[in-house]
């Protein structure tokens, strides 16, 4: 589920992943928006039920991965009468281009929506190398 910082065909689809200790949990691909600003890119992802404590956001090499663990939404012993959606964790990853300044990536989580700011790296001025003769 790694993708370049744009295209994805796995929009909102669900996959069942085998995570730790033989516990089967649903893992969903969260829907995202990505838009450009003058400073760089902004990514929004819907992660309902994910809290700051249960969210892992990491950049390794040029890969940005978000994993949001969703805690149980209902008390134990609740009897399901009607179910239209399933509860599961959220996972999605992206390949960052070189033009993103990895050091300055920042993120915030509000109302179940994650906002990641990916600033453009400042352009390095070309340096002129003087050639001397003996």
């Amino acid at each position: 589920m790694t993708e370049e910082l744009t295209p994805s065909t796995t929009n909102g689809s669900r996959v069942v992943n085998q995570l730790a200790a033989n516990v089967e949990r649903n893992v969903f691909t969260p829907p995202i928006d990505i838009y450009e600003t003058d400073e760089g890119l902004v990514l929004h992802a819907d992660l309902p039920g994910v809290t700051i404590d249960s969210l892992e956001l990491q950049v390794q090499d040029n890969k940005l991965t978000l994993f949001g663990k969703v805690n149980p939404q209902i008390p134990d012993g609740a009897k399901p009468l009607h179910r239209e959606y399933q509860v599961g964790d959220f996972l999605r990853s992206f390949i960052l281009s070189d033009e993103v300044d990895h050091e300055r990536i920042s993120a915030k989580l509000t109302n179940g929506v994650l906002e990641v700011t990916l600033p453009k790296a400042t352009q390095v001025e070309p340096r002129k190398i003087e050639v001397k003769t003996d």
Binding site: L5, T6, P31, D33, I34, T51, Q73, E84, N111, V113
Partner: protein, 148 residues
């Protein structure tokens, strides 16, 4: 899969992709069809010992954008997803999330105390608690002897 980076001159692909996205978004993300043909928000209903519990995932909706009304056994939830604001269409590379106003009406289970309804919104998760009517002990109905 097209790859878009700053400064690359693949604008034609980009326009195409955006156009395809737009077409697809018209198919998949009309307001009443979250996933094809499905009402938004999707709701789960649970029964507990002393209450019924509705849960719904409504990421991006603020408390002040949420409205809950009850009339004649029908509960209506209304909300708005306003973010991100003021970003022109052409700035988007991906647009998968729902936006705009949404509304859903559902009939609530019988034998609940409508006036005791409580709702909470946290981390994009809406929970609506409907306390059950307390068990009423069986009422004795006197039978009188009819006229012979």
């Amino acid at each position: 899969m097209p790859v878009f980076r700053w400064g690359q001159t693949w604008d034609a692909f980009r326009d195409l992709e955006r156009e395809v996205d737009r077409l697809l978004s018209n198919v998949n993300f009309t307001f009443q069809g979250y996933r094809v043909g499905r009402q938004y928000p999707a709701l789960n209903l649970y029964e507990l010992e002393d209450e019924f519990l509705f849960t719904a995932e409504v990421p991006g909706t603020k408390v002040e954008e949420l409205e809950l009304t009850m009339a004649g056994g029908i509960m209506t939830i209304k909300g708005l997803r306003s973010d991100p604001e003021g970003i022109p269409e052409e700035r988007f590379r991906r647009q998968e999330r729902l936006r705009g106003p949404w509304q859903r009406s559902i009939s609530i289970p019988e034998r609940v105390q409508e006036e005791q309804l409580t709702a909470e919104l946290k981390d994009g998760l809406l929970k609506i608690h409907l306390p059950k009517v307390e068990d009423v002990s069986p009422r004795q109905i006197p039978v009188v002897e009819g006229d012979q």
